[in-house]
Amino acid sequence: MDFSGVIPAIPGMWNGMLMTLQLMVMGIVGGIIIGTILALMRLSSNKLASRLAGAYVNYFRSIPLLLVITWFYLAVPFVLRWITGEDTPIGAFTSCVVAFMMFEAAYFCEIVRAGVQSISRGQMGAAQALGMTYGQMMRLIILPQAFRKMTPLLLQQSIILFQDTSLVYTVGLVDFLNSARSSGDIIGRSNEFLIVAGLVYFTISFAASRLVKFMQKRLAV
């Protein structure tokens, strides 16, 4: 075991970490926005909207993330070419971001839905009785309370996504894990680099999940 080769590789791995964080943040933000829209569709009295959102969620929760990533990378340009008749490469980064957003949206949808349903019906009645429209009621009264209750779950899901971003190696993106592994391969010290990468993932995820526990306690009061 010789960890001395790790130090000079830190800048490269830092760039990889930036890629990981970028993918994660974009996936979470997009996922929460799409997921909230899906949740409102699922909860709406419009049967068609509710079924469409339900089908979406069930579909994306039934297939592996790896498949979604490769599908977006390989099949979407193919479909686009078929529609537009010309080559429209969308690139590994964009396709990964879109894949994460679409995939995470299915999970965030269920979190938001549970959050909204946990708010008592009386709150909806009170908002309506004051003359609020459905949109105002959701935006001003129900969702702010629901998001407060959901924060720990949303963070938990974000930690999972933080780890899952490593799957982008299949389409050749250099995230943290990929940069660590290739740095190790170059100098023939793969094991050391993988141990370091594992420690970094563990430290960040563990610290974040501790934070979640702490928040759960505070929010429970």
């Binding site: 009645g125 009170a126 309506q128 009785a129 004051l130 003359g131 001003l140 702010p144 309370q145 407060r148």
Partner: protein
Amino acid sequence: MISIKNINKWYGDFQVLTDCSTEVKKGEVIVVCGPSGSGKSTLIKCVNALEPFQKGDIVVDGTSIADPKTNLPKLRSRVGMVFQHFELFPHLTITENLTIAQIKVLGRSKEEATKKGLQLLERVGLSDHAHKHPGQLSGGQQQRVAIARALAMDPVVMLFDEPTSALDPEMVNEVLDVMVQLAHEGMTMMCVTHEMGFARKVADRVIFMDKGQIVEDCEKEEFFGDVNARSERAQQFLNKILQH
């Protein structure tokens, strides 16, 4: 002010309201009582269309609820409602609770809404609590804020759905005092309540419901005057709640 005409409502096969009709004139205070499950809360929630009904119509200040063209949120903004469980918004301060609908629904400026809200808060005797959150207040205090919140919308009528049922006995009076004061000021009120003392003091009429039907609808003096002239079901009910 409110005209309820032959309201029928079903939950699936179960009929909760059967041919309920009554009138509430401007400035009148109506107390609706009856055993639990008799449909009184459901009836009052039909008045601001929080509960849909299948047959009949309710006209509030000239606006028909059954008319599909009616803008229900707009109608509701003119009908104040106070709930059994207060339903203040826990993520907002008391001031925000009092102003949010004024600003977002009525389009008042923040200053105007805050001024109005604080005036009403003073009227229910809770000025010191403006910056607190609902969770920091007692049940009675929360219910007084809820009344102030409804009044801030300048409603043409106030609906009360068992406003004191979820309160500790010591806190019932502070809420009833506010309601009595409102009644004396000439507010049109429809109150579902078991507080017969309140009914005796300020009600103009008493409606007694049983099994989804309006069994009695008469002047207060008549209702409390000759108990033997009441329907059998109303007599049973009155005997039980007036015993102590």
